[in-house]
């Protein structure tokens, strides 16, 4: 059903990796659509992406292009891998342009341990991490707080964690927006959302979320990688992929319903109910923006608490302090979010509401939002691959600011449905086969493991190469997995 009734556009090829869909493709398009992809990735793209992307191009107040990253696949409303910026005065905000898992994101942590040191202890390490960082259906975390305290988490994000002993002061400058997004207003969040999220701080969840022990497999720019703490190709790092858990999911659910009625009120029509939206400046739009910021901050706190548990686990297994093991945060970045950011439009600097759904901010060195330590390198960007194929660390560029509102890809992108993956792969056999290849996996669900098989995803190297070739983000380090926890 995914590809039904979608006319293949007549693309205007702008370069080897840029493909435009003109406004003539669909009635109502206010701007053209632009896809970043290689020939190979274009062939693999499911056709519904074109339909969804051109639907986004019809939304009020959209600026420049509706953009699509090379890891795109169809989602609901916006495609996953979609980026769209809206004029705050005439444009909208849409939960469908952010996703249910608000501030789903990536975190990368260094160690000074080598592959040789960690490999013999990978089983006890992963087994203990599996206990310390709960994963899977409805899992609860160890942080027990009151509703009142949870509101502080919503307002202060990762800062709350540092104040409560779950991290180091230096962590904050290594998180997008210092781990705390402005304009969070807990009064805009429902009791139901609080009920779902209160006990889930420090948990991974399931789906494609994971905690992975990796080693640097290839360093593309040694001098710059050293500045971020990655010094050799046998160095062990830890990557975390998760978001705002049930709390963020409920915030999105609550506001999608409100927006369905708001669209009638503001006489906005959209081609897909999951694109429901409201004017950014309307009460409904602002209420969602403030609630979304709460969920985004809860996600930063979630990943911060997970990092705290990772540091404690490494301390126990390797009998050294996290400081001795140089367990520094490289960066933490969101890939499901809307941000109020300044960008240049027709040569003039303007505030825009930038939606990134399965897309990562990748600011170049010129942006003052970055902590001083990143103003020479550009912002670190973490691209998570499938658990079999590895991941990448990239750097944002100033070219991205000119072309994509400072945005890039977020992962591999699925090519196979979950149901199909379950038919083709047996989770228990995959686990054994991966262990033979030196990747030790612990999971709460074999069916969930099968769904995340490497064969269900696009080639991450192909995705990353497109963004590198386009000059949107530059390749810095490739990582290979040796241990993985899956929900």
């Amino acid at each position: 059903m995914i590809n039904r009734d979608v006319a293949v556009p007549e693309f205007e090829q702008k370069s080897d990796v840029i493909w435009d869909i003109p406004m003539s493709y669909k009635k109502g398009m206010r701007v053209p659509a632009r896809i970043y992809a290689s020939q190979k990735l274009m062939k693999e793209m499911d056709l519904a992406v074109y339909d969804q992307l051109t639907n986004v191009a019809c939304l009020p107040g959209i600026v420049n292009h509706a953009l699509c990253m090379p890891d795109a696949h169809s989602g609901y409303g916006f495609p996953i891998g979609g980026v769209a910026a809206f004029d705050p005065d005439t444009g909208i905000i849409s939960p469908g342009g952010i996703g249910f898992d608000i501030n789903c994101g990536m975190r990368l942590i260094t160690t000074n341990l080598t592959l040789k040191e960690v490999q013999p202890k990978i089983k006890p390490l992963v087994d203990m991490l599996f206990k310390q960082v709960p994963a899977g259906v409805g899992c609860k975390g160890f942080v027990k707080i009151t509703q009142q305290e949870f509101k502080k988490v919503m307002q202060n994000g990762a800062k709350w964690c540092i104040e409560n002993g779950y991290g180091w002061d230096e962590d904050l400058e290594r998180i997008e927006d210092y781990g705390c997004i402005e304009h969070a207003e807990p009064s805009k969040v429902s009791d139901k959302a609080i009920g779902r999220g209160l006990n889930q701080i420090g948990t991974l969840g399931s789906g494609n979320h994971y905690l992975e022990i990796q080693h640097a497999a290839q360093i593309f720019d040694k001098k710059t990688a050293e500045k971020l703490g990655i010094v050799s190709e046998d160095q062990i790092c830890i990557m975390v992929h998760c978001g705002s858990r049930g709390f963020g999911h409920q915030v999105a659910t609550d506001h999608l319903k409100i927006f369905a009625d708001a669209m009638k009120k503001y006489e906005i029509t959209v081609p897909d109910p999951e694109l429901s939206c409201a004017p950014f400046t309307s009460k409904e739009g602002q209420d969602y923006y403030h609630a979304m910021a709460c969920a985004a901050n809860a996600a930063f706190a979630n990943r911060q608490v997970i990092m705290y548990r990772i540091r404690e686990t490494f301390k126990h297994i390797f009998e050294k302090t996290p400081e001795e093991m140089e367990m520094h945060l490289v960066y933490d970045v969101a890939h499901n979010i809307a941000k109020y950011e300044e960008h240049k439009v027709d040569g003039k600097t303007k505030k825009l509401v930038v939606h990134r759904k399965g897309a990562t901010r990748c600011f170049g060195p010129s942006r003052t939002e970055l902590a001083p330590r990143f103003r020479k390198t550009g912002q670190p960007v973490i691209i998570g691959g499938s658990m079999e194929t590895g991941s990448y660390l990239l750097l944002g560029t100033d070219k991205a600011l000119d072309e994509t509102f400072g945005s890039t890809a977020h992962g591999s992108g699925r090519t196979m449905s979950r149901t199909q993956a379950r038919k083709e792969v047996r989770g228990d056999l995959l686990q054994k086969e991966m262990e033979k290849r030196g990747i030790y996996v612990k999971t709460t669900s074999y069916s969930g493991l099968a769904e995340e098989a490497g064969s269900a995803y696009k080639s991450i190297s192909e995705v990353v190469d497109v963004m590198d070739k386009a000059g949107i983000s530059k390749k810095l380090v490739k990582f290979s997995p040796i241990g993985n926890i899956k929900g």
Binding site: Y76, D101, V137
Partner: protein, 140 residues
């Protein structure tokens, strides 16, 4: 059970089609699909009982709210389910359901996916030739 998981609606998520000769059966089938998306019900004991009561103006909204409540209870109480008994009052547009299940215990239950949300994507509730049908996509 009159529901089946559908492959080609949502690449990264789970979609199902449920049917029923009446609304009771439709709601029962759809709830069962959500329950099985979370865990294999045969591996979940019946030690906790949860009641759901919802009233809406239309049948599509009623089913949506009902399924969403199951997802909510999963997170709020950290439970998965083994069975559901549904009663729909079509005139009042009201559903009452009793769900049985247990606290999440990964060591003894076959857990599946942590459903994030019920979505409006391709959402459909229709009656054709005396048979009700729904299509639902769950965000994973």
């Amino acid at each position: 059970m009159p529901f089946k998981f559908v492959e080609d609606i949502a690449i990264a998520d789970v979609a199902f089609e449920a049917t029923g000769k009446d609304l009771n059966e439709l709601f029962q089938s759809a709830a069962q699909a959500v329950i099985e998306s979370l865990a294999n019900p045969k591996t979940v004991k019946a030690v906790i009982v949860k009641k759901i009561k919802k009233k809406e103006k239309t049948v599509d909204k009623l089913l949506f709210e009902f399924l969403e409540e199951i997802v909510y209870l999963k997170d709020k109480d950290a439970i998965v389910f083994t069975d559901v008994k549904v009663n729909v009052d079509e005139k009042k547009m009201e559903v009452t359901a009793m769900l049985t299940g247990d606290a999440i215990k990964p060591e003894e239950q076959e857990l599946h996916q942590d459903v994030k949300a019920v979505t409006m994507h391709y959402y459909l509730v229709e009656k054709k030739k005396d048979k009700w049908k729904t299509v639902v996509v769950l965000d994973i």
